[in-house]
Structures are given as C-alpha cells and as structure tokens.
C-alpha cells in the first residue's frame, strides 16, 4: 500500500458542479478524505449523494471543479479509469454478475492465467477462497453468486473492490440487506481497511452505524454541503436536523405551507387498517390506521420503510405477514387490483418508473385506472372520459396543450397532477401519497398541498409521505414515525412538531451510543 508521504488528504474534491438539463445536482461541493478515514456521506433523496458518488467513481464528469487523488489531479473518462486509479465502489444492487460463480465475480478481468492466455481455474478458485477467508467468509467459490445470501454477495462485492489495490472505497448503503451478524463482519472489514490506510466513503441512513464506524461526516442537501466535520462532535439530533434541513432551534410555527386546520376525525372508525405488516429486511410489524378525513403522515429517514408501507397497503409489495382491511373487509394480499377495487389509491414515489405512461396522452393517463367505470362491455365511453378528464384538468389546474398532449412532455408538477387525477377518477376511499410534491415547482407544490387538504375535508383518508419535514408536520393530523422498518413513535396534537419528529428519529432504537 502506498501511503502518501505527508499527512495531506488522499482524496480531495473541490468545487464540483454538476448540472442535468439545467437542474443543478451538485453546487460547488468539496470534500477531503484523509488516508484511513471512514467518512460518512449523508443526505435525503435528491440531496446529491449519488451524483457525488458517481462523479468520484468516474461515472459522471463534473461540469466544474477538480479532484485530486494523493495530491495528483484526477480526471476520469469512465468508471474503469477511476478503478485503475484505486477508487472502487460497492453498490447496493448492480456491481456483480449474479449468474457467474463467486470466484469468477471476484477475479473478473484479472484472472490468473497460464501460458497461451488460458485461465488457471484451479488457482482461481484457490485465490478466491483465500481472499474470502481473510474476510471471515467461508463459501464454495464455485457456486453461482446468486445462489448465496444477499449478505454474502455484498461481502464478495466488497472483497472484490478491496482486493484490487483500492485506495478509496465507496460503500453505498452496504448494510441495507444484511443480518446483524453480517453487519459485524462488514464492520470488521472496514476497520481492517482503515488499518491499511484505505479511505472509505460510507453512505448510510442508519445513524447507529454511522456513529459506530465513521470518523468524519459530510451532510448534503439540495446539492450543497451543509455541514462538514468530525462526526463525534455532531450530536444525533443536530445530524437529523441537518439532513432534513430544519434548524433545531428555529422550528417555525405555522409556516407558509400550512394546510388548513386540523381535522376532527379521531372518533370515526378507520377506513383502512394495516396491522403487522412484515417483510424481511424491509418492514417489521408495522401497523397504521387511517380514519376518513384524516391525514396521517409517515415520518422517518430514507430507507425507514415509508414507501414500502404504502406499497404494502396498496397490495403492491409481497409480504411475509400482516393484513390490510379497508372499511372492515380484509384485502387479498398482493393484489393491486383488489386494493383499487376496495378504494385504495397509491400515488407512487417514482413518477416516471411507476406512475405516468409517457407514451400516452394526458387523457389516456387520467382514464387508465378508472377504465372499468368508464366503459361498458369493454367499450370505452368517450363522453364519460371527456367529462372526467375535463373535470380534473380544470379542478387540478393541469397545464397542458390539451388532453391529447403526451404526458412525457409535461412538467413534473403537471405529471403529478395527472397521476392524482388518475386516482381521484377511481373515487377512492383512501389516498396513499408518496412524496406528492417532490421535484415539482413551488407554485404547483402549494396547489397540490391545498388539494390534499381539500380532499381530506371531503372525507378521504390520506396517508402522506414526505421528506419535507415542514410539509409533513403541517399537512398531517398525526405522524407515525418509522425507523429501520419499524414504528418507533406516533405524534399528534401539541407533540406534533418538527423537532419532536427529529428527536424521535434520533433517539429511537438507540440502545447503542
């Protein structure tokens, strides 16, 4: 291992700017990484973490700014060059080839060869076995990677990254699918790296883990660095408040996004009751009940299980346990169609991948889920569709050239309104809104928020997920706080403040310091 001569930083990112079609994803971001430092990189969705990682690992080229590795300027034409320079990434999902054997994954591209360039398979298996053994992993390296548990796969990815003379290792949510004892093994590896002066950029939302193994921290928000420094000097509450963008001391009361006053719905029977929702690594016995006219918020950090809870209620997530009843009738598990028939509507988080159908028009998108009601004997009633489309385009103030414009051509806010219209057209009893205002401009945001309020007034039950703490607290009558897939608190009335949400997140489950 070549340790730089002086105590200068190993990796130095300075003033990096990255834009995507006009949107500023990274705004003059700087970061210094000392040799052997384990550095936490945190921030909510859209904060710019993944963009920064991609810049560092050579996937993107920065529009402005420079990077230096061990004192020398570093410019990468692609991930390969970054890897050759010693920057390795361990991704959550892609990163390895599941169908290939463990040994082949571990050594792909640098297999031991004999004369004539053929692979020395015996040596390959031996070397692979030795590498893994040194990380405390004992598996048959000839087995296909996919036949092993997720934890082992993750360790193989890590072992691969590290064994190629890595100087900087980027770990993106490395523990999201690990069992507790696998996490311990991983931490062992991280410590070993630190001893060898390899630096680690550690991306995670699990505060306990960050405090256990990270030295420094960089908090990103809206593409900017909002805090940088030693992690030990930053208490948990402050860290959460930095991530969520709400100053602890200065939590405003009754801000601009306040929806109208609270709903008095406490006494009615719930329109939807989810109980004991459980799925391995994702949800742990989550129960939520929503009454008509009530807006229930789901709080928590990224990866806490908010989206998954909404999907589980909508029948779109396979569950290991738990049940959902709508108006007293249990739903068939894992059937989105049954949930919709029962009156559940889910506005998904990922508008593009799970919501709009870009090739179709505004009109077709709005009518999609309500087609059974808008047709007779399989024939679509154009008149009824026109009526509904017209109603909602006006009510939601959807700005489009006309009902026949393709949805892909609309702005984010208007796409979101189209999706809302799609669900409202089904006359739902309950609306599950996953980040309804993300990525849409301020004007449209206020409109959507006002609309949510209006819908609740009309007696709809609403489940609201939002990383925008202000929106969450002011828009909800009650907030259920999730952490690591489990409910850790419920706040309402006078307790429902941004600060209380943050302390609940910061303190919960914090048995370990």
């Amino acid at each position: 291992m070549s340790v730089p001569d002086e105590e200068g930083p190993l990796l130095e990112v300075s003033g990096v700017v990255k834009r995507f079609t006009g949107v500023l994803a990274l705004d003059r971001v700087s970061l210094e990484l000392a040799p052997g430092e384990v550095h936490a990189l945190v921030g909510e969705n859209g904060a710019g973490k993944s963009t920064l990682i991609k810049v560092i690992t050579g996937v993107y080229r920065p529009d402005e700014g420079t990077m230096r590795l061990a004192g020398r300027p570093a410019e990468f034409a692609g991930p390969l060059e970054a890897q050759r320079a010693g920057i390795q990434a361990v991704h959550q999902e892609i990163g390895l080839v599941p169908a290939l054997s463990v040994a082949r994954n571990l050594l792909l591209g640098r297999e031991p060869r004999r004369r004539f360039g053929t692979l020395d398979v015996g040596r390959m298996h031996r070397e692979a076995g030795e590498i893994l053994a040194s990380y405390g992993i004992d598996v048959d390296v000839r087995r296909p990677l996919r036949s092993l548990g997720v934890g082992v796969q993750q360790m193989v990815a890590l072992a691969r990254a590290v064994s190629v003379d890595a100087r900087v290792v980027v770990m993106d949510e490395p523990t999201s699918s690990l069992e507790p004892r696998e996490v311990e093994t991983l931490f062992g590896v991280v410590r070993r790296l630190r001893e060898r002066a390899v630096s680690v950029i550690y991306v995670s939302h699990r505060l306990d883990e960050l405090y256990r193994i990270c030295d420094g921290v960089t908090v990103l928000r809206d593409g900017r660095v909002v805090h940088q420094g030693p992690l030990a000097e930053l208490d948990r509450l402050r860290l959460v408040s930095l991530m969520l963008g709400r100053p602890v001391a200065d939590v405003r009361q009754g801000g601009v996004t306040r929806f109208s006053g609270g709903h008095d719905a406490a006494r009615e029977t719930p329109v939807v009751e989810a109980s004991g929702l459980t799925r391995r690594h994702v949800l742990d016995d989550v129960s939520v009940a929503i009454r008509p006219g009530e807006v229930v918020g789901l709080g928590g950090l990224l990866g806490a299980g908010r989206t998954e809870t909404a999907k589980a209620i909508a029948g779109a997530l396979p569950l290991d346990g738990g049940r959902v009843t709508v108006a007293g009738t249990p739903l068939r598990r894992g059937s989105a169609a049954a949930a919709i028939r029962a009156g559940v509507a889910l506005l998904p988080e990922d508008r593009k991948a799970e919501g709009v159908i870009g090739t179709l028009s505004v009109r077709e998108n709005i009518a999609l889920a309500a087609l059974p009601r808008l047709s007779r004997a399989g024939l679509v009633s154009e008149a009824r569709i026109d009526r509904i489309v017209d109603t909602f385009m006006r009510r939601l103030r959807i700005k489009a050239a006309g009902p026949h414009q393709r949805v892909a051509e609309l702005s984010g806010g208007n796409q979101q309104k189209v999706l809302l219209a799609r669900w409202l057209a089904t006359e739902p009893k309950i609306l599950l809104l996953d980040e309804p205002t993300r990525g849409i401009d301020v004007g449209a945001k206020a409109e959507v928020q006002a609309l949510i309020d209006e819908l609740a007034e009309d007696g709809l039950g609403v489940l609201l997920i939002s990383a925008d703490l202000e929106e969450l607290v002011e828009g909800s009558d009650r907030v259920v706080v999730l952490k690591d897939g489990a409910v850790v608190g419920e706040l309402s009335g006078g307790d429902l403040t941004e600060e209380r949400v943050m302390t609940t997140i910061a303190d919960a489950g914090g048995g370990t310091p």
């Binding site: 390895l96 080839v97 297999e111 405390g136 548990g149």
Partner: protein, 336 residues
C-alpha cells in the same frame, strides 16, 4: 482492533443452499438435452436395426455438423444476451461466395466467404454495440441484406455456381476419414476451441458477464463494445464457414439454403440449456442440442411412414418444455 475477526466463520453458506427441487431443475436445464439424447439413441438402437450402424450415425454427424458450426457462434451471441437472426442468410451467402470464388482457387473459395461474412458480422456488431440498436432488429435487417447480396451475386438466383469435384475445397467438404466426413472433425475442433474460449479465457468471462448483467460488467471493467462486436463477427465467420463447406459438400452454392435456419439454430442452442436472456449456457450443451435435433429427424425418417414434419413438431415441443423450465428456474432464483 482485536474484536474485528472474532467469529471467523461469521458468514457461511448454510442458510442459502439451493433446494433439491432447484438443483433438479438446474440439472435439467444444463444436461436435459444430453440426457434425452442418450435416451433417444438407446431407444433408436433397440427399435431400428438401421439406426446404430456406422453409416447412419456418420450421416447424422455430417448433416448436423453445419448446423453445429452456426450454432457455436450463436451460443456466444446468445450468452451475451443478444441474438443473430442473420445466420441463415449469411450461411447461404457463404455458400454462394465459395462457389463463386472457386474459379480463383480453393483458398479464395474459403477466404472470400470468411472475409465477407466476417465483415457482415462486424457491421452488425458495430450497429449493436456502438449505435446501440436492438440486436433483434439489426440482424433482422441483416437477414434481408445478406439474402439480397447473395441474390445479386447469383443473378437473382438464376445462376448456380458449381464447385468442380476436383477442387481442394470440394475434397475437404466431401472427403471422410474412418467413415466420418472431414467437416465433422473440423466442427469438433471448432467446438473444442470454442469451449476453451468460453470457459478458459478472459474473453469468455466477459461474454458471460455481459449477458449476466451488462451494467455490472461495465462497472467491473469488461470491454463491452469490443466483446459484443467480437461475438457478432464470430457468428458471421462461423455461418460463412459452414456455408462454404456445405457448398463444397454439395458441389454448388445453392441460393435457397438457410431459409429459416436461424430459428433452428436458436432452437438448438436454447434446447442445449443456454438462456436466451443471456449470462448462462455452454458450448457442450449446444452440441447436445444440435445432435438431439439431428437424431429426432433421423429417427422420424427411420419410422418411415411418418412425415419429416414430425421433427418440427417434436423440436418445437421440446423447445417449449425447455423454455418453461428455464423461466421457472430463473423466477425461483429471482424470488430468493
């Protein structure tokens, strides 16, 4: 830092072992074709006196060898997750070019088809790997283009170029050793080379990695463009070579050959256990797949009063069965 490695065997495979059923399906996928092949040969040997004769088996081998060469290239293409629909046309093109070029000698009759068909694969590979058009559509256009090219060489199919019996290439195509035609030996040699290439070289690892997960392969430093172009060039070369040798065997470049061959080839590869989704498969499986189709055809001919169309029915059914098993298997694995 002593706590780091207290539990050495912290992670073991115990919990993640495959179930018996999965293992069984895996075996069927990889060796199903070979098992059925053995079974059929056994049945054929008992049922028909004329089946297990050297002449008959040699005949199966020689008729299968041309399909096998093409299937070898296709195996590589499919393992990368691609497909090559142009091979039937390229096969025919290779034959016509060989017969056309034999006037300049046997070497030309071999080199011209290789050069043209290799170039054809190169263009397709570049369109797929660089321009990033779908393999399906590029090679579909290639199917038409190659047939157009061969028709224009053969005056719209009106001229059939002949390969004189005395030509060296004719002797290569028609000759035999120990009752087995030369092309069979060549095919065997090519398969050995192919197997080594696929299993024992970095190129082969790249082929598997790209088919398994293109994104991951790219991140792991696999040369995507180069590897993809190479497999389409290989496929073109092998189809051209097979076409040229087949023409040598038939003593002429028959223009109408190879129609629909691409699908027979794909069927053989898939029956041999190569996943059409890419990332898994083997050269030996392809041999079994090709031979299985050949034996089925031969047996149906032996039965005599059955039309040869039963071969298509049986291979279609077999293909469907294999595909259902494969899909089921990969779904089981994905759900874990």
């Amino acid at each position: 830092m002593t706590e780091s490695m207290t539990a050495t065997a912290a992670v073991t495979e115990a919990a993640a072992g495959p179930t018996g059923r999965e293992r069984a399906f895996g075996l069927i996928q990889r060796h199903g074709a070979a098992a059925v092949l053995v079974l059929l040969v056994a049945i054929g040997s008992f049922a028909f006196d004329r089946f297990p004769t050297g002449a008959n088996l040699g005949n199966i081998a020689i008729t299968s060898s041309f399909l096998a060469m093409v299937a070898l290239g296709m195996t590589f293409v499919i393992i990368t997750g691609g497909i090559d629909l142009s091979v039937g046309s390229v096969f025919a093109l290779g034959g016509v070019l060989a017969a056309y070029a034999v006037r300049w000698g046997s070497l030309a009759a071999l080199l011209l088809p290789l050069a043209v068909c290799g170039a054809f694969g190169l263009v397709q590979g570049l369109l797929i790997a660089r321009v990033r058009l779908a393999p399906f559509i590029v090679t579909l256009a290639g199917l038409l283009g190659a047939r157009g090219l061969l028709l224009s060489i053969s005056n719209e199919g009106a001229t059939t170029y002949l390969i004189p019996r005395g030509a060296v290439i004719a002797r290569v195509g028609q000759g035999s050793l120990f009752g087995v035609g030369y092309p069979v030996y060549l095919t065997l040699a090519l398969f050995v080379v192919g197997a080594v290439l696929l299993q024992r070289t970095r190129f082969g690892q790249s082929v598997y990695a790209i088919g398994g997960s293109e994104d991951a392969a790219e991140l792991m430093g696999v040369p995507l463009t180069r590897t993809k172009v190479a497999v389409y060039v290989m496929s073109g070369l092998l189809a051209g070579l097979a076409g040229a040798l087949n023409a040598a065997r038939l003593s002429s470049g028959v223009t109408i050959l190879g129609t629909g061959m691409e699908l027979d080839v794909i069927a053989a590869v898939v029956i041999g256990g190569t996943l059409l989704t890419g990332g898994a498969g083997s050269v030996s499986g392809t041999v079994a797949g090709v031979l299985l189709l050949g034996v089925i055809q031969n047996l149906i001919n032996q039965i005599g009063d059955l039309s040869s169309s039963y071969q298509q029915v049986v291979s279609g059914a077999f293909l469907a069965a294999v595909v259902v098993v494969q899909t089921y298997l990969s779904r089981v694995q994905r759900l874990r």
